[in-house]
Amino acid sequence: MSGRQPVDNRTDYLNDGYGIKSWLLTKDHKRIALLYLASITLFFALGGLFAVFIRLELVTPAGDLMGSDSYNKMFTMHGVMMIFFFLIPSIPAVLGNFLIPLMIGARDLAFPRINLLSWYIYTIGGLFALYAMAAGGVDTGWTFYTPYSSTYSNTHVIATAVGIFILGFSSILTGLNFIVTIHKMRAPGLTWFRMPLFVWAHYATSVIQILGTPVVAIAIVLVGLERLFHIGIFDPKLGGDPVLFQHLFWFYSHPAVYIMILPSMGVISELVTCFSRKKIFGYGFIAMSSLAIAVLGFLVWGHHMFVSSQSVYAGMIFSVLSYMVAIPSAIKVFNWTATLYKGSIVYQTPMLYAFGFIGLFTIGGLTGLFLANLGVDVHLHDTYFVVAHFHYIMVGGAIMGYLGGIHYWWPKISGRLYPEGWARFSALILFVGFNLTFFPQFLLGYMGMPRRYHAYPEEFQVLNVMSSAGASILAAGYVIPLIYLIWSMRYGKLAPANPWGATGLEWQVPSPPPTHNFAEAPEVTEEPYVYSHEEAQVV
């Protein structure tokens, strides 16, 4: 039902206390989510700026815009900021923080002060990264491979490493909070299999954060100790093995990619069911596949190390396991598609992002199978094929899911509706720009263009120009939502409690919600996603 809420003096979390102290000392998970939203948007912009420099350099085959040392810094800072300071926190820290207590009928997370601490820790880590950037950057690649990072690099490795180390704590505390909240604070009647799939996805993500992040933390500490004291742990001349760093690094960093994609998959599950007006197909399979991805994702890290002098036998086992980890993801795609089948599909903006996700994630995932094949990977490793693969997943997948979620829950978060016309337009621009940027990179990689090079042979120029042109369109697709979302906070139409006619406890509270979410604990008596085939109730 469309309708404007009458403007009244009802208190919601946004106007419950004014002033900077009420925000910086808040314990409200919803305000903390917005603090995170501001921070990660800033780092996304910075990471994007470095991408602009990369794509500008690659317009011409010669290394003429900048020297190779500077180029190394560009792709390193792009990767560090996008992965650690944008993608890893993004959906959990913004949407997860905001929605999980609402979705399970709780007043807040289990540990609200630790939640706020988590944001401060993120900010401190970010400041270290910003300092490193301002002081001249780091050029090791976001992967910090030894012995370059531990012995030979002359850039600000330690400052960046400290920033990432600190950020790891933020990630761990968020995961810890979610795990305890989901176990201990569900409303009466909300059994595990009545929970929204968004919550399942974040639970699986949190398990990965808990078990994986500490290992990269210690890997970073060891690089720091090596740089400071030359202890020899990664230096072959002193008896060390550089590949040990890769084991410790990838033990986390492979599961980290699942930290980045699982929450997005959780968003897609919510979007697909709501905008097909149909109960999701295979709820149990989707829930279990999230856990399967979390577990199996820890057993495949060696597929990043096929050509590193890792034992061939270990490589073969990692290859087989990497094929297996694709299965739960495929199960999800099948179930989403089956949900669409015979649904009453509504092409609202969040659904456009969901469609984009399903198509682009599938392409990204399938190309991962090529890379999982040990023999093929020997040829594709460190080429643009890998770059295209992970950008299809991270940008075509994770970021599309993030934007779809932001649009879907924007009325709940801000109490306003965004302008639908502009939103659909920018979703389409994003899709076009994305494919123009990254599809040519599959071809470039197949043809042999190496990654992390600032110059390349003449014959690769056409595809590189296409890619850079696409990047400019992609950038527009990101800037436009930034503008209209901020605009809508002041000038957007007031949103009703449930603009999409969706199921879920978060839609039972006003938009925006009051500080303590629920007047009394709701009781859950039915299965999730009970939709009928009527039209979505859209304003």
């Binding site: 057993l299 270990a314 086992i317």
Partner: protein, 100 residues
């Protein structure tokens, strides 16, 4: 979660066992047992850790969830160490590539 406080004698009994095991680990270390030295030392350490976890940390009175979580933690450590070591151990199984 503990509902009733443990009787003191349980704690003292566990303490006694930990002392005995500490002594044992030192004594066994005096003998040359080859690879068994490490095995025995780790086994004794695992037993001591299990006693601390079950009794001092009250795991035996805790929920199934907590027990499962702790078991998973140790399992994950085993996964990290064993798979990493499997790389190093199996590197020598294949000869170095020769010229074609």
């Amino acid at each position: 979660m503990v509902s009733h406080p443990e009787p003191k004698r349980i704690y003292f009994a566990v303490f006694g066992a930990l002392m005995v095991l500490t002594l044992a680990t030192v004594l066994v270390a005096r003998y040359e047992l080859g690879v068994l030295n490490a095995v025995v030392a780790l086994t004794i350490a695992v037993i001591k850790a299990t006693l601390v976890v079950l009794f001092f940390m009250h795991l035996r009175h805790s929920s199934q969830l907590t027990k499962f979580a702790v078991a998973s933690g140790f399992l994950w450590l085993v996964i990290l160490i064993s798979i990493t070591l499997s790389d190093y151990i199996s590197r020598a199984w294949l000869p170095l590539p020769q010229a074609w």
